[in-house]
Amino acid sequence: MAWIEFEGRRVRIEAGDTVASALFRHGVRTFTRSIKSHRRRGLTCLTGDCANCLVRVDDEPGMRSCITPARDGMRVEREGGVPSVERDLLAALDRLHPLLPVGFYSKTFIRPRLAWTVAERLIRGATGIGRLPTGVRPRISQVRHLHVEVLVIGAGVAGLSAALSASEGGRSVLLCDEGEPGWLVAPGPTIERICSLAEAVQRAASITTLWHHAAVGIYEGPLVPLAGPERLVHVHPERVVVATGALESLQTFRGNDLPGVWLGRGAARLAGRHGLSPGRRAVIVAETAEALEHLGALGSSGSKLVAVVASDEIPAPTAGARVIRGGAVMAALGRRGVRAVVIRTERGSERIACDTLVLSTRRFPRDALLRMAADLPPSGEAVVGAGEVVAPGCSLDEAEQSGALAGRGEAVPISEPPAPGLGAEGLVCPCEDVSVADLERAWEEGWRSSEILKRYTTATMGPCRGALCGWALAAFARARGADALASARTTARPPARPVRLEQLAAGVHEVVEKRTGLHHLHVSRGARVDWSGRWKRPFTYGDWRDEHRAVRERVSLMDVGTLGKFLIGGPDGRELLERVLPCRVESLEPGRCRYVVVLDEGGYVMDDGILCALGDGRAYLTSTSGGAERMEAWLRGWADRWGLRAHIVDRTSALGAINVAGPRARELLSRLTDDPVDASAFPYGAHRHLTVAGVPCRAIRVGFVGELSFELHHPRSRGFELWTALEQSGADLGVRPHGLDALDVLRLEKGHPYLGQDTLPDDHPDKLGLGWTVAMDKPWFVGRVALQRMRELPLERRLVGLELDGDASSLRGMPLALDGRVVGRVTSCALSPALGRSIGLGWLRAVDGGFPQVLRAGSAQARVVPTPFYDPEGVRVRA
């Protein structure tokens, strides 16, 4: 025998039980409380559409108990209610409803500002919408991708029929359902038809079935995510058939949300599938032929049919119940549940004692997915509906035929349901406790379209996503004279069905970690490795000051393999570079290199790097670590636009790079290479092919850190042996590696800005003091026209060097003030070990046509000084 644990009690479960049916058998009638008024809520739809049966299952909140299979050992608790759902002190809010009209919060908690902060916490705590589990490690869901020709959503009569016809000719078909075929259908002719079709589907070789997977939305592509118990499935179909059926409408009358008010299919399912009687004395509202099936199911479950409120087209039921023609429900009365209903008859109103009111009413399509697709042209055209979702109330034959047409990709007859009638009282949106009176009030206040009524009243914004009330809201606006646009149904957005947070996050891995070939070496050397953009890089190997000293006084190594590296060749390779770079490319001799800035069309600095001229018209270009992908796309984009035959090879991953820097760098290098590295053979601004410790390298003489430097670009797979050879050979020279922390200070001492940190998106070279990198006498390059115009304007802002009082290493981001007025900002700063004083870079705005020279940065004085701070003549770097 199997049991579930329900609020400290053991509840027996039977085969086929859901959590809801097991609890109902146990006598539970109030499953939850409404979120605003704390009204009692009981089972209503049994199709997972409404939010009246949400419970906490095994610590997971918001589970729809009516479609959650009961399993032995499950722990189930009701949510909401203070102190409990059965005895809820906050139910008093229901009596205060007239004092808490729609818009109450936004009107009431405006001032003082703190009011909303306090009120929000109290209100949220009172809603009882479930608690997120704490102390539980979040599960990580994975995504599986599926490619099929046809996806059919929904395994009812129309869906099964669509899958069968779509599979003709061997097309690959995926048929999915939130449950299994017929799982929500009461015994009767419908389930028999479903079983027969399901057997045929099982035999069809090209149909794959995916049960217990709910379609949560339709996106461009089309792409349809299916939320399953274990993972999210991204389906990429060529066509989609939506066969999600229809839902009976919840009529509006006073007490329409009381426990004991059922939608017809839900009551019939409880009776027919679980053998449970929804109540002892039932009144049924019969608007459709299907109501007769519901009557039969209720009768066989032991419910006494007290009255049938039948529309004229429904034949008289044979059950012997009293039939009231042309009547309508005016109210359901009761406190804990239905005790009586008031029916309007030809002779007036009549009170009928009962404990169950079953609404076998007209159905409205469950069409959220279809409406999402309609907003996605052209992929929306690949999405069609079949069965009740396009023709609510259709017969089984019509549903099957509709499915067959949709499966073959043929046009399906569509019939729009007539607008629902609205009563004068009752709830329109049970999820959000929005009543007809609330809508009336909002309308009177001037909110006169369905979309803004939705926003003001929150109708349709509850867990059911408008399944029960979307049509009613639109009908309300239409009945008051709103035009077609203002009375349209509100926009359907994903998720169409509830989805776990872990599934929303499934497959989302925003950060792709990149590593150089020396990553493990750095870790083994005790480096603090951390994120730098998308790269994992060493920041320090212990003490950045020691690393700094090694660079300034001895020799040091740095892994700069993260730099973007490109080989540019082809007949038009040099031409491409000449056009896109603002420097003179033509005059750069093979063997020489040059610092370059890269401008966009607006003349703004996009990136920077080193350009090396190779033989045969080829060139080697580096970019910043974070700019490599953009650089490649940018170069390819221009080449394509101009039709240039330029070959652009991204070598970023293929090549590693080690910067050997410091006054003894040449000495170290000369121990490991037979190639000449003396200043005359290999001067500053040159690049050479060297074999270092047997590793072929392109060595580049540049000096970002302001010392004699050789950047050794080498095959990634040889990085380890090159690095270790340099370390071993330079041991007596005091070689040691340096990381980004030391580099930040080293480059600052040279006054080199970090693009991104020290720059802004609208910086042109003059603002950065990099005007010397631009050859304005070139006839054309990307950004030249804009740059020319900007040069005609006075410089309103520029990056300046700063000297600051005291230890200013924590002043980054500090505003620069002149007589109390903010005129700039510190972008980089440090207490320079080499200079023994605080230095920085910062933005400064022009004041009265000039740039002030003395400012305040917090409590420190900041003086504008020329850069570089260190070795201004560049003697060391050119050594």
Binding site: G569, R645, V649, S653
Partner: protein, 175 residues
């Protein structure tokens, strides 16, 4: 752990040579006589071909490709890009299922495709019994970890021995 895992992850060692030239020249190179050490050729773009070779054959392949291509297109370019790519190979009966956990690329059988795999730009070479994933070397560890996480339910097993590049069967070969 089953005796024979449904999904094996291994590294495949190959040489890779990127060849750039006119589409006609690359067509001719692709369809030309077999070169020693050459295993495969992947057409990445009309003007770009990647030659896959045996491990250690890159230098010879570059020389040979350069010789052949330059005769057809003087502006051509051939570069050893072996170090730029890591080849992860999924084998075992669940390789297709495993791939579907990593990429939205429609792959139903043998063939070649390009696109994101585990969020990384990749070249995908599918054979009847395996799929080779060429990913940038700087992202190899990211892809490895994503494969192990995404395919955990499939019982993925990381093999210590490298896998071999499988040449296309005759019916899988490009026309």
């Amino acid at each position: 752990m089953p005796e024979s895992p449904a999904l094996d992850l291994s590294r495949t060692q190959v040489s890779l040579v990127a060849c750039f030239g006119t589409p006609q020249a690359l067509d001719a190179l692709e369809a030309g006589p077999p070169a020693p050490g050459r295993l495969d050729a992947l057409r990445l773009a009309p003007d770009e071909l990647m030659v896959v070779g045996e491990p250690g054959a890159a230098e010879d392949l570059v020389a040979l490709a350069e010789a052949r291509l330059s005769a057809l297109d003087p502006g051509s370019l051939c570069v050893d890009v072996t170090d730029g790519w890591t080849v992860w190979t999924l084998t075992g009966e669940a390789w297709l299922e495993g791939f579907a956990m990593l990429s939205a690329i429609p792959l139903t059988g043998p063939g070649f495709a390009q696109g994101p795999v585990a969020e990384v730009p990749a070249k995908v070479v599918a054979r009847s019994d395996r799929v080779h994933l060429l990913v940038p070397s700087c992202s190899e560890e990211h892809v490895r970890r994503r494969i192990l996480a995404a395919c955990a339910d499939l019982g993925v097993h990381e093999a210590s021995a490298p896998s071999e590049w499988t040449a296309p069967a005759a019916r899988e070969a490009r026309p």
